[in-house]
C-alpha cells in the first residue's frame, strides 16, 4: 500500500482505495490494447509513462496547492482514466478538476482529500497496467 505525504506528514491512507480490478472496465482496456496490434507493448509502456508523469505532477501540485498545476494534471488524468476504462479514477479526476477551478480557498482541505484519493487510485491503475505488459 502506498504511503502518501500530506503537507509533510506521512500517513497511511484512511480513505477507501478500492481494488483496481473492481474499478477498471477491463473489457474496454484490453479492447484498446488489441486495437494497438503489434504496438501493444509500446502502448502499455507509454501509458505507464503518461500515468507516472501525472502522478509526479499531482504530488507536486498538491504539496504546493498549485491550482493551475492541479487543473492541468487532472485534465490529463480525466482523459487517460476515461479512455482506458478506469471508471472510479475518471470520476475522482473530474471532481478534482472541478474543485481546482473553484477560487474559494476554503476548499483547500477538500482539494487535499480528493487529490490524495486520486493518487491512491492512480497508483492502483499504474500497478494494474504494469501487470498487463506481458499479458496475452
Amino acid at each position: 500500500m502506498k504511503q502518501v505525504p500530506i503537507l509533510g506528514v506521512l500517513q497511511v491512507e484512511t480513505f477507501d482505495i478500492a481494488l483496481a480490478a473492481g474499478q477498471i472496465d477491463t473489457g474496454c482496456y484490453f479492447r484498446l490494447l488489441d486495437q494497438a496490434g503489434t504496438q501493444r507493448a509500446e502502448l502499455v509502456a507509454r501509458l505507464i509513462a503518461d500515468l507516472e508523469k501525472v502522478d509526479c505532477g499531482l504530488r507536486q501540485a498538491l504539496a504546493n496547492f498549485d491550482r493551475a498545476a492541479l487543473r492541468l494534471h487532472s485534465h490529463v488524468l480525466i482523459s487517460l482514466a476515461g479512455t482506458f476504462g478506469a471508471i472510479a479514477l475518471h470520476r475522482t479526476a473530474q471532481t478534482l478538476n472541478q474543485s481546482a477551478h473553484h477560487i474559494d480557498t476554503a476548499t483547500n482541505g477538500n482539494l487535499g482529500t480528493i487529490g490524495h484519493m486520486a493518487l491512491a487510485q492512480l497508483g492502483n491503475l499504474i500497478d494494474f497496467v504494469a501487470q498487463t505488459i506481458d499479458a496475452p
Binding site: 484498446l32 486495437q35 494497438a36 496490434g37 504496438q39 509500446e42 502502448l43 507509454r46 501509458l47 509513462a49 503518461d50 487543473r71 492541468l72 487532472s74 485534465h75 490529463v76 480525466i78 482523459s79 487517460l80 476515461g82 479512455t83 482506458f84 475518471h90 473530474q94 471532481t95 478538476n97 472541478q98 481546482a100 477551478h101 473553484h102
Partner: protein
Amino acid sequence: MIKTPSPILPPLLLIEDTPSLQMVYRAVLHTAGHQVAIAGTAAEGLALFHELTPTVVVLDLVLPDRDGLDLMQDLLALRPQTKVIVITANGSINKAVEAMRAGAHEFLVKPFDEQRFLGVIENAGLARKPVRREQLPLPSVPTSSEAFIGSSATMSRVHHKIHSVARSMATVFITGESGTGKELCALAVHDNSPRAAGPFIALNCGAIPQDLLESEVFGHMKGSFTGAVSDKPGAATAADGGTLFLDEVCEMAPALQTKLLRFLQTSTVQPVGATRPRKVNVRIVCATNRDPLDAVRRGQFREDLYYRLYVVPIHMPPLRERGNDVIEIAEAALIRFASEEGRSFEGLDPSVSSLFRRLSWPGNVRQVLNVIRNVVVLNEGGLVTPEMLPPDLGADSTPGGTTPASPPIAQANLSLDDLVGLSLAEVEEKVIRATIAAHGGSIPKAARVLDVSPSTLYRKVESWSQG
C-alpha cells in the same frame, strides 16, 4: 477489419500531447480508413498544418506550449474552410463554448466513444455526400445529436445494431419511450444505408388529423376533397429512392393501416382521387412509444401489418438505463446552449451530476435538454449547482417533465369561450400553456409556433410556478 486508407483524401491532423492517447486515436482512425498525422505540441501542429493542408483538424484545447484556442484561431485565419474539431475534458467546457463561438466545427468531451469520434470526423466532410432531407410537421425531437451521445454499453449495442441493419432493405421498427431519440435512430439508419443520398421523409402519424393522414402519406389530386386546391405528392412518393419514417405508427387509423399494408405488399401508391397507382422504391422505418404487440392485442393495430413492419426491431433505451450517458448528454447540451445564449458555464457541480444519475428522467433526453436549456437561460454562468435546477426536478413529478411548473398540464383544446372574462395576463398564460401541451410539452416547439424566443417562454413559465 482495417480499411485501406484512401489515397484521395488528405490526412487528418491530430494535435494531442499525451502519447498514449495519440496511439489510441491513431489506431481507431487507421482502422476506419483515415490517414492521420500527429503533432504533440501547438508548434508542431502549426508546422504540419502548413505542410499537409488537412481539411480536418482534431485539436486538444489544452496543449503544453500554447492555448489550443489561440492555435485554432491561427489555423482558421490561414485556411477558413478547415473543419476544426476541438476535444477537451469536462473541466474546460467553457473553453469548448468559446471555441464553438470562434468557429470550431464540432466539439468532443473526453473520453468519447469510438462511434461518436468517427461519426464527428465523417460529418466534418472526409467521406460524406450531401443528402436531401425533408420533414413534415413533427412534435419536438432533440434537434441535435445529444440523444446519440453516450459511451454506455447499452448505447454501444444500439450503434452496433444500426450499423448492422442499415445496409439492408429490411423494414426497421424502433421502439422506445418518448424523448429517447427514435427519429435520430431512424436518421442514423438512413445515413448509414446505401440510400443515404436519397430523401429522408419523416411523418408523425399521431400529430396529423386522421382524416388528413391518408393524403399526407399517399398524396391527393386537385379537387379530390374540400381544400385540395392542387396535386400533392404525399410522403411515400416524396421518399422515392430513400427512406420513409413513420413515427407513432400505432396511432394510425384502421382504414389507413389497410392501405399501408397494401403499399408495403405492392410498393405502389395511389393518391386520394387518383385513378392509377404508381410504383415507388422506398425503405420503411417506423417507430412507436407504445408496446406494438399490446396494440395488436387490443385490436388497435392490425396483426398482419405488425408482422410486416416488425422485421428488424431496435429499442432505444430509456435514459435511466444508460448509466453515465445522462452526464455526457447534459454536458454536451450545456456547451451548445451556452454558446447559443452567449453564456459561460464551467460544467456540472458533482452534486448535480450525482442527482442526474439518480433521477428516472421520464422525459428522457428531451427532458434533459429542457432542464439544461432552462438553466442556461435563467442563469449567467459558472458551475451548474442544484439551486439552478427547476424546483420540481428532484420529485420527477411530471411524466415527460418538460415544463418546470407544477400545475396540471393545460388542456390542448382551448376555445374562445374559455378566454372571455379573463384578464389579458390570464389569457396569455392559458394560450401559452395550451400551446405547450399541444406540442407534447416542448417549450422550444411552442415558442416557434408563438413566434417568440424559447427563453421568453421559460421565464414566463418560471414566473408562474413561483406564483
